[in-house]
Amino acid sequence: MGQITLQGVAKRFGEVEVIPPLDLTIEDGEFVVFVGPSGCGKSTLLRLIAGLEDVSGGRILIDGKDATDASPAKRGLAMVFQSYALYPHMSVRKNIAFPMKMAGMPKPEQDRRIEAAAKALNLTSYLDRRPGQLSGGQRQRVAIGRAIVREPSAFLFDEPLSNLDAALRVGMRLEISELHNRLKTTMIYVTHDQVEAMTMADKIVVLQAGRIEQVGSPLDLYHAPKNVFVAGFIGSPRMNLFTGAVAADYGAQTIGVRPEHIRISATTGKWQGRVGVSEHLGSDSFFYVEGTGLAETVTVRSGGEVGLRHGDTVWLTPDEGKIHKFDTNGDRI
């Protein structure tokens, strides 16, 4: 069980309101990702749920019970920190055993769970090492192991992969997703990595300046962003946003077209421009088209190889059905 409900939860640091009152429900077994720009309050929100910060207003319910004033230990949640926060002078085994020892669990049960966690996380041969003698990825797995053995009702992750290199990050991402499939425990995951958010989440919560901009499945957010902020934030490369005359043609203040929804052609099309920088990834090519008069550059994604070079004149045609329109408040029309 691990349903978490936030009711009007707010947080102020002195005079500064970091999180205005917000409501959010996280269902049991869900993988929820908090994304948002740096400093938007993702970590703060996670720490409020964990009980490491006191709320300035509102209530936090865990499995329907009021946990607003419960101590972190009493909430039955486990957290994995960005810095891993392993205990440096204890062996891996002792690190993993620590929460169980604190809970007064019998030794044989402790050993059984340590063995199981170590096996699941490929840590068996490192159990007697200190954290200082492990690589970043191994440390991260120890931190996850320490969280698993408590069998918490929900896991909280605060940017757990941001200290790892790209290849390892992909590997750990898959491991965490697999862990979720196996345990079916609620997980709340903070990141500012697009790909992590899109690939791992059942539900994404987009935050800006402490406000929830949109909650939805990754594809909801991709296909129907609720406002300009979400439109610009979700998707990589970013959606092209145009204001002015083109937007007015569609009866909107702002229109957005994703790079993959623009066709590029050397002969005909709707908007004329010049190829600036182009990036060829083999499977895809990205063109940054200048001089269209719509925006400084228009990003276009095109499958496979297209014989266009720097400085070539090109025509762009948007996929009319996939144009997003926003009103003067930035909300979706």
Binding site: L52, A73, A85, P88, H89, F98, M102, A103, R146
Partner: protein
Amino acid sequence: MATRQTQGLARLMRAPAIILLFVWMIVPLCMTLYYSFLNYNMLNPGMTSWAGWFNYQYFYTDPAFLESIRNTLVLVLGVLFITVVGGTFIAMLIDKPIWGQGIVRILVISPFFVMPPVAALIWKNMIMHPSYGVLADVARFFGVQPVDWFAQYPLTSIILIVAWQWLPFATLILLTSLQSLDTEQMEAAEMDGAPAYSRFFYLVLPHMARAITVVILIQTIFLLGIYAEILVTTNGGPGTASTNLTFLIYRAARLNFDIGGAAAGGIIAVILANLVAIFLMRAVGRNLD
């Protein structure tokens, strides 16, 4: 200093300092060693003669000798205990963000700036004096007979005074160590369900082990040679109840004018200090790796 060439150069550059330090140490040591085998009394400085082991025998059979060694150890251990435990406690208190933190920290550190004889005099005449000391006033306020500290508990009194002087040092070192403790670790432990005392014993104390070792080693060096506080307050008495090895040597040299005997005592003190050092390095030195 990776290559052999830079290592050789580094050794060359270090040499003058090391040679100077070595000479500085070895010359007085050899002179003391030499004097300790002479019959050499200041009352009769012309009449020196070879004494063999007599000075050592004389110093060793002095009934005050064993007591002075015991007093030295009690003094060192007592002060270490008070300063490490008290220093940890105070450091944890002033590590918390409190109003007027800057002032509080300066106040806590200030005893360290009082010279030892001055501190001892203040304690002797204004705090522990049986008729007009603060402690006597407090005792009278509660209707209790004031304690004559230096007569009844001479060694304890000196331990208290010295501990008061060294507490700031311990606090300061331990505070810096405490401030380098990772807060996420503490939060992780909190989420793991560790109550405050478990967090202290499992996380804070191991983290501070290195700093505590530094405090113990540095203080021991200075505490083995405590002298001014004893001279100013009890003068080693009553009897030899508060005489440590340093003070015994002083007595031999200055009150009996016995240079040879004092030198022998000095050599014994050096040996004792080395024994303590070896013991300490064995006991706590591995924390410094």
